[in-house]
């Protein structure tokens, strides 16, 4: 069958890659989310629509796009990123960034206008308004991070294409499920799948808990 150490390795790779991609996804989505959400400009509606449609990008497509860019024959081939965990991080980032950004923009569009109006009447500066907005509901940030992480760790296709599912290096949980299933070791696939689902459940409960306690 398969040794426990290999399974633990796959779990560790999944956690590492998805944690880092979520970290980058989080900070960049918050940054761009506020940038787009708190301002009015001509292309705003188009950008938000594009982001919205990118949230359902099939993972294989994201993987393919990144692959073409970092392949040796691609523009960033010289960076030697193909088949490394860094490539997986980038691919997962591309998948989760639209979702996270859309979430924060939705939150801003809901809360910001009335917050801004009232604070303006009190003569608050733009900076005051932004600071209050950012610090007002802390649970939304945790929710967004958890949603991003959940999506990143359970995707199959993006990280697999650019990571190459290489033993000890880029074979994460989902790649291992695919490989072991291809070898006929259905039980390994089922076990890892169960671990992933448990993780999703924990994340889901976490999100609800923080929402309630706000």
């Amino acid at each position: 069958m398969i040794e426990l150490s290999k399974i633990l390795e796959a779990i560790s790779i999944s956690l590492h890659v998805s944690f880092v991609s979520t970290l980058f996804g989080f900070f960049l989505s918050i940054f761009f989310g506020y940038l787009i959400g708190t301002r009015e400009f001509h292309f705003k509606k188009y950008i938000i629509s594009i982001l919205g449609s990118l949230t359902s990008i099939p993972p294989v497509c994201a993987g393919l796009v990144v692959y073409l860019i970092i392949s040796r024959s691609g523009p960033l081939g010289w960076m030697q990123l193909l088949y490394t965990p860094s490539a997986m991080i980038i691919a997962q980032f591309i998948i989760i960034f639209p979702i996270m950004t859309t979430l924060i923009i939705n939150y801003i569009e809901q809360e910001y206008p009335q917050l801004r109006e009232e604070l303006l009447s009190y003569g608050a500066s733009q900076k005051d308004i932004l600071m209050l907005m950012i610090t007002n509901q802390k649970s939304i940030y945790l929710t967004i991070a958890l949603i991003g992480f959940g999506r990143a760790i359970s995707e199959y296709g993006a990280a697999a294409i650019v990571g190459g599912s290489i033993d000890h290096v880029t074979r994460n949980m989902t790649a291992m499920i695919a490989l072991e299933t291809a070898k006929g070791n259905i039980m390994v696939g089922v076990s890892l799948g169960a671990i992933l689902i448990s993780l999703s459940l924990i994340i889901s409960f976490g999100i609800n808990y923080f929402k309630k306690n706000d």
């Binding site: 009232e118 604070l119 009447s121 706000d214």
Partner: protein, 207 residues
């Protein structure tokens, strides 16, 4: 005096207010009435420079927006006392706690905002606004969510305030309006249907 000449306001191709011509006189209480969606809140915001008209002219003795009571006031995810004090921190004025005391809000000081009832929240919003000594007051539906007793208290407090202040407010119910208003504006579908003094205004409705 606040003077509006041929003011229109529209957003996203939707016309909210049309051909508004009115004068708000200082020192008296003006009540804006009308059905839901007739444009009352929008008119109030225009009067306070919160939004700008899409066409027409506004001349006002106020040069900048002043603190006002919104229909959906700002709630910060925190305690009652935090919400009471936060705006004072921004405005850096001294707080007048008389309304806070009148509504007996010190009992709720440490509670989180999301545990308050609608009426308790409204009392906090009123106390918050009235903690600043202003000579002009903009109030959007100040009596919403209040129980009968609190509403009576509100009317009493407003009558005390109106003596030397300019008050502009929106209201739904005629009873309270009759009690405290001097001049009345009735909006329908974004246009002014009536604007009259108290006597003439209520004559319309009794006939």
């Amino acid at each position: 005096m606040i003077k509006l000449k041929n003011v229109d306001y529209q957003i996203d191709q939707k016309i909210i207010l049309q051909s508004i011509n009115l004068n708000i006189e200082q020192g008296r209480t003006t009540v804006i009435m009308g059905k839901n969606g007739s444009g009352k809140s929008t008119l109030l915001k225009l009067l306070n420079h919160i939004i700008q008209p899409t066409s027409g002219l506004i001349q006002s003795y106020l040069k900048n927006p002043i603190p006002m009571l919104f229909q959906k006031p700002l709630i910060l995810k925190n305690t009652v006392s935090y919400n009471y004090q936060i705006l004072q921190k921004i405005k850096k004025f001294k707080i007048n706690t008389s309304w806070f005391d009148q509504f007996k809000l010190s009992a709720l000081e440490d509670q989180k905002m999301n545990s308050l009832s609608g009426g308790e929240k409204q009392k906090l919003f009123l106390a918050r606004l009235m903690s600043f000594d202003q000579s002009t007051l903009f109030l959007d539906e100040p009596n919403q969510s209040l129980d009968l007793e609190s509403e009576k208290l509100l009317a009493k407090l407003l009558l005390l305030e109106k003596k030397n202040k300019t008050i502009i407010l929106t209201l739904h119910d005629f009873e309270m309006a009759k009690k405290i208003g001097d001049y009345f504006i009735y909006l329908e579908n974004g246009k002014i249907l009536l604007q009259e003094n108290k006597q003439q205004f209520f004559d319309h409705f009794s006939s």
